[in-house]
């Protein structure tokens, strides 16, 4: 199963060429940041053991639309994710974890810091990453199939070829037979499957999940977690997920990272050593309980620092 992983990793030499082509444009557009200046050029030659996602000293600020006041949402976060790893960030609602994910997706421009996927600098959205949004946000005028191939279509893949490539994804997320439905005819869980398939079909190196099951009811959520576990078993994608469900984080991940309350900083990191492949059965092991309690403890301590604690479990 792990040889799928080897296939996904690009040749490092080719990577360096790619960088050489894009570097001047990327450097010109960005504001001066100290990390990039002090980083020696050797970083350009990515070595195979380098992490797939490399985030260094990331700062994200938001401007208040009325006053122009700047608020820090993410403060000097550094994070590495190895290829094939499933990493989840948990934290209170509004702690800045979604901002972090959006920055990695290229949807939010950070104030400073560097982000690289497979050695390639993140400068906006790219084909190496796909996002599964919390809301399915399927285009209502497109059928399930046409929603799934949307990303491929935008990249100029001809429709018949895109449809062919989507076939295996449709089986993977169990949407066979629903290809010609419109999103309105689907349940929330089904819509989220389409959302997932749309992300998988572009074959990203890094899959970004933004609270993907938060809007689903408890039972559908569990089903979707099972699906995600089995999909991950097949694809071994590198995943960065954001959630506020502690049990979900522990169940799915290799590593759980707790973000401190706003502005987000890396709080505590937990290695989840539960055996793979996992199922919902993993919930009943004492190790699961122990880890969930530990994570909860760390989150709770950051919650109690809030002046108006609104996070009650």
């Amino acid at each position: 199963m792990n040889n799928g992983l080897a296939l996904e990793r690009p040749d490092p030499v080719w990577e360096a060429d790619e960088l050489a082509v894009h570097w001047p444009r990327a450097a010109g557009e960005r504001r001066v940041d100290s990390a990039a200046e002090t980083t020696p050029l050797t970083v350009l030659a990515a070595v195979p053991s380098a992490p797939l996602l490399e985030v260094r000293d990331l700062v994200i600020t938001y401007e208040n639309q009325n006053t122009g006041e700047l608020t820090e949402a993410v403060s000097h976060v550094s994070l590495n994710i190895q290829a094939g790893e499933f990493v989840t960030i948990v934290g209170l609602s509004g702690c800045g974890k979604s901002s972090f994910l959006n920055a990695v997706a290229g949807l939010v421009k950070p104030a400073s810091g560097t982000m690289k996927v497979a050695g390639k600098r993140i400068d906006g959205p790219g084909p190496d990453r796909s996002v599964v949004f919390q809301k399915a946000t399927l285009l209502p005028w497109r059928t399930v199939m046409d929603n799934i191939i949307y990303g491929l279509e935008l990249r100029g893949v001809p429709k018949p070829i895109a449809r062919e490539r989507a076939e295996s994804c449709i089986d993977l997320v169990r949407l066979r037979g629903f290809e010609h439905f419109h999103p309105h005819a689907l349940s929330g869980g089904m819509q989220q499957r389409v959302n997932l398939a749309r992300a998988l079909v572009t074959e990203p190196q890094l899959l970004l999940l933004d609270e993907p099951f938060a809007a689903l009811d408890a039972i559908t959520r569990e089903t979707m977690q099972n699906e995600l576990l089995s999909i991950w078993n097949v694809t071994r994608k590198t995943v960065l997920m954001v959630t506020h469900q502690i049990d979900e984080a522990v169940l799915l991940s290799d590593r759980v990272i707790v973000f401190s309350d706003r502005p987000a900083r890396i709080g505590t990191e937990f290695k989840i050593n539960l055996p793979r492949p996992r199922t919902q059965e993993a919930r009943y092991s004492p190790a699961f309980d122990y880890l969930a309690k530990e994570v909860f403890g760390v989150i709770h301590s950051s919650a109690s620092k809030r002046e108006e604690p609104e996070y009650v479990i």
Binding site: F133, L154, H182
Partner: protein, 266 residues
């Protein structure tokens, strides 16, 4: 089909039939009263005409080709003006809604024209474009274009931000965002705009032809009124109303068809 579904459809059919009979009954009653009042000389038939007289005159106008001549003349003017409004109005509205700077530059101008009664410009148009087709087309164009501009502008400004975000996340450029997100989601607005524009355009035709010229339904009505041919006036009114209803219904039908993605597919 299950027996439940059959019963349901039968009930729906009866309900539809009943409402059709109801609205038809109102018309019949109205015309019967009119006919009676005219025949009993309760009002002067010279001023009121009567349904039977209108029908007779209508038949005559159809047979001698007068009606067709006027309908074609009006139709030509309408289609030219309406067509130009569609060709110009949609891109202008899209640009106003899509480009912020364009909106800032031209929005006040559009508002100024939007609120102005177009018929007030007719004397100017006659001076500029003559009494023929030019001035009429100009009036129709100016009447029909604004609903299209405003609706397309609103459509562009109301694109769901989440859909845009999906497009951006999957690497859409500006053109792709426009063609895969903005355009499809603007179709309902476009159809509303077309319906409104059509109504305004129809008003424009009649107004322009009443104002001046020598052919068209508006001219026919105006001339008939001036010469006390009340039945001819009514024929003109009925023809215009019928054309309007047919066009409006077909656009309404088109809207429902286009919105079919909102309906569950089986």
């Amino acid at each position: 089909m299950s027996s439940d579904a059959r019963r349901f459809r039968a009930r729906k059919f009866r309900e539809n039939l009943f409402s059709l009979g109801l609205s038809g009954g109102v018309f019949v009653l109205l015309f019967a009263t009119w006919e009676f009042v005219a025949r009993a000389h309760l009002v002067d038939p010279m001023f009121s005409s009567s349904p039977s007289q209108v029908l007779l005159t209508g038949w005559e106008l159809i047979n001698n080709g007068t009606l067709l001549k006027h309908v074609l003349a009006s139709g030509k003017v309408f289609l030219t003006g309406f067509g130009l409004a569609v060709i110009l109005g949609i891109p202008i509205g899209v640009a106003l809604g899509w480009f912020k700077w364009f909106n800032r530059a031209f929005s006040p101008l559009v508002s100024a024209f939007y609120t102005m009664p177009r018929i007030a410009l007719m004397p100017l148009f006659i001076i500029w474009f003559g009494l023929g087709m030019g001035s009429k087309v100009a009036l129709i164009l100016l009447s029909a274009i604004f609903p299209l501009i405003v609706n397309m502008q609103v459509a562009m400004q109301n694109i769901d931000a989440d859909y845009k975000r999906v497009g951006i996340a999957y690497g859409a450029n500006q053109w792709q965002l426009f063609s895969t997100v903005a355009l499809p989601s603007s179709i309902p607005f476009l159809l509303t705009g077309l319906r409104l524009a059509m109504g305004r355009g129809l008003l424009g035709v009649v107004a322009a032809e009443v104002f001046g010229g020598a052919e068209g339904l508006g001219y026919m009505i105006q001339y008939a009124g001036a010469t006390f041919q009340i039945d001819v006036v009514f024929v003109g009114v009925v023809v215009i109303a019928t054309i309007g209803v047919i066009m409006d219904r077909s656009l309404a039908y088109a809207s429902r068809r286009v919105d079919s993605w909102k309906i569950t597919e089986t």
